[in-house]
């Protein structure tokens, strides 16, 4: 079944698809993280570049500012040098330049001095080092030279005198003079081109820190200034950076093993450090002053300050990404749930479909076999439900020489109609077990259906009882489509078989009102005729243009079937083909049911016939018994069988004697016997009240002695001993026919 395979494939696809989500989520998360990482690295590189640029600016600015101060001092000294050299011979006057120096630049210049070769001025003594200093707003003059303070050994003196270059010293503690850390700038004083002394100034170093740490882009950054040799010149205050940290950084700076990198277009060098106090990583950028002194200015930055925002951003982005992944997971989970729901509903639909298919099989098995071929009747039926189960029904069975058949249509279609169909079907069977009047059968079914019929479902139904020996059809129609009769006779005009609808009273459908009265109608069916029954699924079949197949088309097809003397199966096939061609692609809108019954009574070729008439008196039985014996002798029927026949016939006749005529009245009972050599037929007829022994209830043979009823044995014996029993009321006479096969197959 390709349908089932397709459904299995669809199920597989759905299952596979639900595995993917986990993969999707993981891939999406990885992808997002990759993008974030890439972005982060790029931003970080950008920030680093930015930092290097700003650091470079910072360092350059610091250097310039330092140089500004130093230059100011240098220029002042140079200027006073000119004056000093002019007054070279007047040491006292020369000292005035020192006052100028100190006063001109009060902020930075702490003290100014002159220092001459020993004994250059004999009048001044061996040592001549006048020193002018500011203290508490007052300018003081000292003579610094003394054996304890041998300035000739000092760096500021020696460098200027011997090297003949302006010189800045490294910071040193000037206990004698400034009582502070100072740097000294000295220039040689020349007389006749020869250095004879030194002029210089002392600068404190405190201003250096203020200058270099005046402003940094990052609040926690600070600068340290070191000499060319890596010794302290200035360090930030404790509030900015702890002494331990500063020492640590300077130690790293001086440690050649520390990894460095040249950045900032080759002008600054960088190394990294770790601050244990704050548990932070940082970096140090440094560069040297271009002009002398070539101090090294270090700029210390903390990574968290530089990249802190980026890290924060990254964290935030990560959280957003996580949220995104969470939403994706939610979507996927919802999708999975929906698809699982879909799967489940598919499965339950399939289960329902499977159950309906089983129900259909059960329904089909409840129908009689689609074909029945007996000596005297040939039946073919077909029921095609619109859905898996249908609300149409047909049924037929033979009892006591009569064919009971029905066709019905439950309102609606599908499972609910199918269930009502099943109920109606069993009602038909039970009602026809002891009733041969189709109107009364219909009534029984109606009363039972109308009761408790909450859904107001109803059934249109046609019931027929065809007496097979005579062709007498009794029928009752409850709102159903009138069957069509193809009679064997030929019309005068066309010479082809007569096709017409059976004339039916319009009774209400079954199940509407419990007290509906149904009418019974009669007709004779000629040998060779066919009855065609159908439901409105045939006449109301629709094509894609919503046109109905219609009664006319059905009639036309019937006429064709009649003219070709088709058998029941052929008729049904022909009608089916016709309606299927008409419907084409459109969906079947209603259950389609057809039943064709062909009546072919066999002519009885008797080789022996005999008659006997008796009065309705039990005592006649003896005489009657002799008659039967005579007949069985003539037919050479063996003793046991003859005894059975005698018993059955006696019981039947006794029944008639007892019930046919009212008590006390006389009546005749006619017994006609015939045989074709294969069977023996006994026809017992009388003109008494209508009395149908076939509807009498048989005795229950399973009861115990105490429970056994006295009655019912007669009819039981007749049924058991004879092969066929048939009752018809014809022309005001009861006609009971009994048939027994004389040579039964063992």
């Amino acid at each position: 079944m390709p349908d089932t395979n397709r459904k299995i494939m669809q199920q597989k696809k759905v299952r596979q698809w639900t595995k993917w989500p986990a993969v999707i989520i993981v891939l999406a998360a990885i992808f997002m993280e990759a993008i974030l990482a890439f972005q982060y690295n790029y931003a970080r590189a950008q920030l680093e570049e930015e930092l290097e640029r700003s650091t470079l600016m910072d360092l350059i600015t610091s250097a310039l500012r330092i140089q500004e101060v130093l230059s100011k001092a240098e220029v002042a000294v140079s200027n006073e040098l000119v004056h000093a050299e002019k007054q070279i011979d007047d040491p006292q006057y020369m000292q005035t330049v020192l006052h100028s120096l100190v006063q001109n630049d009060k902020d930075n210049i702490d003290g100014a001095f002159l220092a001459f070769k020993p004994d250059f001025y004999p009048q001044e003594g061996h040592w001549f080092e006048p020193y002018v200093r500011q203290k508490d707003g007052k300018v003081e003059l000292f003579q610094m030279g003394s054996p304890e303070h041998d300035y000739t050994q000092r760096e500021f003196y020696r460098m200027a005198m011997e090297e003949d270059v302006p010189h800045w010293t490294d910071p040193y503690w000037d206990g004698d003079g400034a009582c502070n850390w100072v740097i000294t700038y000295s220039l040689p004083i020349k007389k006749n081109g020869q250095p004879v002394g030194v002029i210089g100034v002392d600068l404190t170093t405190t201003w250096i820190n203020d200058v270099v740490n005046y402003y940094h882009p990052h609040p926690s950054s600070f600068s340290i200034v070191l000499t060319e040799d890596g010794k302290f010149i200035s360090a930030p205050t404790d509030s900015v950076a702890s002494e331990a940290l500063v020492n640590h950084i300077v130690a790293l700076f001086n440690d050649s093993a520390v990894e460095r990198k040249v950045v900032g277009v080759g002008r600054i060098t960088r190394f990294k450090f770790y601050d244990p106090e704050y548990n932070e990583y940082g970096r140090v950028y440094y560069a040297s002053k271009k002009s002398a002194p070539h101090w090294q200015i270090l700029l210390v930055c903390y990574d968290s300050e530089v990249f802190g925002e980026l890290v924060e951003l990254r964290r935030e982005m990560f959280l957003w990404a996580l949220l995104g992944v969470a939403i994706l997971t939610l979507i996927v989970w919802l999708f999975r749930r929906e698809s699982r729901k879909l799967q489940e509903s598919q499965l339950s639909q399939e289960r329902i479909g499977a159950e309906l298919r089983v129900a259909n099989e059960i329904q089909q098995s409840m129908l009689p076999h689609h074909m029945l071929q007996l000596d005297d009747v040939h039946i073919y039926g077909r029921l095609v439900p619109a859905r898996e189960v249908g609300g149409d029904l047909y049924d037929y069975f033979v009892r006591d020489g009569k064919l009971f058949f029905c066709i019905g249509d439950v309102s609606g279609k599908g499972a609910p109609s199918a269930m009502l169909m099943a109920v109606t079907h069993s009602l038909f069977r039970s009602a026809s077990a002891h009733e041969t009047n189709p109107a009364r059968i219909m009534q029984t079914i109606n009363e039972a259906s109308a009761e408790g019929n909450e859904k107001n479902m109803f059934v249109t139904m046609f019931i027929g009882v065809l007496d097979l020996p005579t062709g007498h059809l009794r029928y009752s129609n409850a709102g159903h489509d009138n069957p069509i009769v193809i009679s064997n006779g030929q019309t005068e005009q066309t010479g082809s078989p007569h096709v017409q609808h059976l004339e039916c009273d319009a009774n209400l459908p079954v199940g509407v009102f419990a007290d509906t009265k149904y009418t019974m109608q009669n007709t004779m069916i000629e040998a060779g005729s066919t009855l065609f029954l159908y439901t409105d699924g045939l006449t109301e079949a629709k094509n894609v243009r919503r046109e109905l197949y219609g009664e006319q088309r059905v009639m036309q097809v019937m006429i064709v079937c009649a003219s070709e003397a088709m058998l029941p199966k052929q008729i049904i096939d022909t009608v089916s083909d016709g309606v299927h061609t008409f419907v084409g692609e459109a969906e079947q809108s209603d259950d389609l049911t057809m039943l064709a019954i062909r009546y072919t009574p066999a002519r009885y070729k008797s080789i022996l016939t005999d008659r006997f008439t008796l009065q309705n008196d039990v005592h006649e039985v003896t005489r009657f018994g002799a008659f039967i014996k005579h007949v069985t002798d003539q037919l050479s029927i063996e003793k046991a069988l003859a005894g059975q026949l005698r018993l059955a016939i006696e019981e039947a006749v006794v029944n008639v004697i007892n019930y046919a005529y009212p008590a006390g009245t006389d009546g005749e009972i006619d017994v006609h016997v015939e045989s074709d050599g294969q069977t023996l037929r006994v026809i017992i007829s009388d003109s008494g009240v209508p009395f149908d022994p076939t509807v009498m209830v048989k005795a229950d043979t399973t009861l115990s002695a105490e429970d056994r009823q006295i009655g019912g044995l007669g009819i039981l014996l007749v049924r058991e001993l004879m092969d066929n029993i048939n009752y018809e009321r014809t022309d005001g006479r009861n006609v009971l026919t009994l048939v027994k096969a004389l040579h039964p197959e063992s």
Binding site: V621, E651, V654, D700, L713, E720
Partner: protein, 100 residues
């Protein structure tokens, strides 16, 4: 149809000979009337000569059986031939009577 009954050794013995059809049943019913009240005595019906039995006859036997059972006595059918046994089978009487 010949019907005889006699008491022997504390039991009723009834003999049926011939054809017990609907007509004969009228007389047989009368003849076997004493058996309807057996006073606790078992009833033995000799059927070796019985060639035919109709439903009326079966009814008589059933009545005798019901009466006997009410008294706690048995009804035994003797030497029933095959054809009649078949009738008993068809009517279910085969399981309510005792056969010898």
């Amino acid at each position: 149809m010949k019907t005889t009954i006699e008491e022997l050794e504390g039991k009723w013995i009834a003999t049926l000979e011939g054809e017990l059809d609907t007509v004969a049943a009228l007389d047989v019913e009368q003849a076997l009337k004493p058996l309807m009240d057996s006073h606790g005595k078992d009833v033995i019906i000799e059927c070796s000569g019985l060639e035919y039995i109709a439903s009326s006859g079966l009814r008589i036997l059933l009545s005798i059986l019901k009466a006997a059972k009410a008294n706690g006595s048995k009804v035994i059918l003797r030497n029933v031939n095959e054809d009649i046994k078949n009738v008993f089978k068809l009517t279910g009487f085969i399981s309510i009577f005792d056969f010898e």
